[in-house]
Amino acid sequence: MRPRALHPVAWWLWALALAAAALRTSNPLLLGLMIGVAWIVVAARRPDAPWARSFGSFVRFGIVIIVVRMLLQILFGERLPGHVVFTIPQVDLPSWAAGVSLGGEVTKEALVASFNQGLQLATLVICVGAANSLASPYRLLRAIPSVLYELGVVVTVALSFAPQTVAAAAGVRDARRLRGRPHRGLRGMRGLAVPVLEGALDRSLELAASMDSRGYGRHGDMPANRRRVAQVATLFGALAIMVGVFAVLDSGAPFALGIPMLAAGSVLLFISLNAARTAASRSRYRPDVWAAPEWITVAAGAGAVAALVIAGHHDPEALRPAFSPLHTPSLPLLPALGILVAAVPAFATPPLPAELP
């Protein structure tokens, strides 16, 4: 295959599908498998760009989530009966705080349950992290319809804000050391926030000015009121599609809500995009192509969701292993295979173009 970058929307659809699959199971083996799949694909197809280096931070964030979830369970969680591991002093709370407990016996069952819940959340975060390091935020931004000018500026500035804040913080820490003040630990944090935010804001403003000077968000020939209509249609269309997808995926939601919402959203989006296209205020240099590798990537993600949905109907026990009595979770075959399919993009997508030194 000729080296090229995959369409960013394909990566996001793939990652969101994997995240949707993670929502349907609390089996730690399956969740671990998903994290492994995300890891493999990121390792294989991550470009060498500043935004692509964030995967490690997302993984660390996932670990923090698991630890915090377990700590909360130990301190305040529901007291599940079972094998007591240790006991911490219990505080008797007044009657109005019924339902909340503080301290008490901590059981193996409670620890396992909280670990699984934490792992599920961590998997979601890692899926988003994978999309973040695989798809260029700028190329994704190009997919935003041009009528949503304000949204585009906000998203671009927001995307650049985090790396700039990190750079500004390093600068301010250096400056504190040069002034002979504490620059590490909690004492070093004092007085850090204002200069850091100020620096990052200044640079963000400069970026917005640069975008504007280069014609971002030109009205072209589109009359203002028509532009407003298109903006509203786009926003409501996207919202309707989101609700529709949620209703279709969530087994608890009424099915009747899902399909009509999806349809209404699609119609609205079609209208607004059409309005924007006739105004023809923007064009594309080397447009991102959508070809077979993109379809394969999206299908691989959809495969994982489908396998979990089907397995959920046939063998719900395997996807949500019970905690009492506690037993080692089994690895159900169909969902495991489905998740493995999601690793296909690691080799079925075109390799990245090599950057010249």
Partner: protein, 533 residues
Amino acid sequence: MITFTDVTFTYPGASAPALADVNLAVDEGEFFLVVGETGAGKSTLLRAVNGLVPHFTGGTLLGTVTVDGISTVTPPRELADRVGVVGQSPAAGFVTDTVEDELAYAMENLGVAPAAMRRRVEDVLDLLGIAPLRRRSLSTLSSGEAQRVAIGSVLTASPRVLVLDEPTSALDPGAAEDVLAILTRLVDDLGLTVFVAEHRLERVVQYASRIGVVGADRRVRAGFPADVMVDAPVAPPVVALGRLAGWLPVPLSVRDARRAAAPLRERLAALVPHAPARAATGETVAKLERVAARYGSVDVLHDVDCSIARGEIVALMGRNGAGKSTLLRMLAGLKQPTTGRVLVDGARPHELASTALVRHVGLVPSDPAALLYERTIAAECAAADHDHRLRAGTTRALLDRIEPGLDPNRHPRDCSEGQRLALAIALILAPAPPLLLLDEPTRGLDYAAKARLSAVLRELAASGHAVMLATHDVELVAETAGRAIVIADGEIVSDGPAREVVCHSPVFAPQVAKVLAPAEWLTVGEVAAALAS
């Protein structure tokens, strides 16, 4: 092409206008240079051309600004096909990931047809000589490359006017010449109007077709370079030499000056430059022994050996990215050497706690504002006294030695660039470190502030400090340094008396040396002193 008619602009909340009664007409195909002291309002004038002032700043603009017949009442985005603007730090304005995408960005917004886009990207890549960079990630560009890409990213929209704010001040002499060659080519070959502000007059004044001086009264006076330079408040060394020797018209370039300088060279032949002793006088303060440094997998410095003694001023020169700042950061204890040993005042700086570190070495970073947190100058001085357990008033006394008479209740943000630098130097010197380091101290300084800085540094060296400055500014080196170290590709390539090092280099030689070569004169001051004696 650009007209300002009775323009007065006041920033929101400001009591006095930033621009007053500006009337200016710039014709098509001009290279219009805006000069003035720091904080005079040059950037404001530039940003008013495409409407960033007032659309992005707020404030009130009276009068009208038009470009190519269109008033800037329309927001900047609607002027994108007429005016291209490149800001002071081009990397901060990059939107996309790669050079090619960045070049195409403006055209995408303008809706240029794909075939035309491909053609124009290729044209601009060739025009600016950046074709080898086309697939590079923007985050890996050097500052000279970033400046050229930023110019390219607005050129692809085929504007009639190009506005640049200090395009060469962050660049080493070689990269600056590349950028200026591009600008003159755009004016000469393509008939573009270039509107540029720059402090480094010695680099640009010879290319300008007209000069606008922004005065202290916030008005703009425009004229031809040869007329304006006769008595402009800011003047490059070659002009100062011409005024001294009484040459008319005043030479603007080294070439003009050399043609006029034959009699002067003869008069000076019998004389030698009488320079104050700038050689090392005291014991060694800092020492680097076989030092190497790396960031990630990139080798920045290797096998660096040198030492600095009390009483000397050492200039550290070299291309952008040669490793100058890294060397300073290691001496200042901000970075640990990968191998080798850095010793300052008998201690390894990166191992010291920050309270102890500041007694051995002080570094003024290239943006001195990063060191300032308090709301008033008095509060900054008091904080330094308190931090270093000094008698109250010590820092203020130091500041008065460097820059007398600053209003203690002023906010550091409201000070001029030169005053902020003076304040930062005073704060760093308060705990009396024997070694003072400065990273690019002249960025944004006008000639008067630079002369002041140079006097301060010489005085500090005379009182026993060792001073090291990393700089691209060859004129500052000529005025100040006794010793020069040139770094290339992570290695020290020359280290010796500043006069020898800079006079023998075609890139680093100051203007006076070029005019009077082969004799080794560095500054106008030296020539004046020799002629007077």
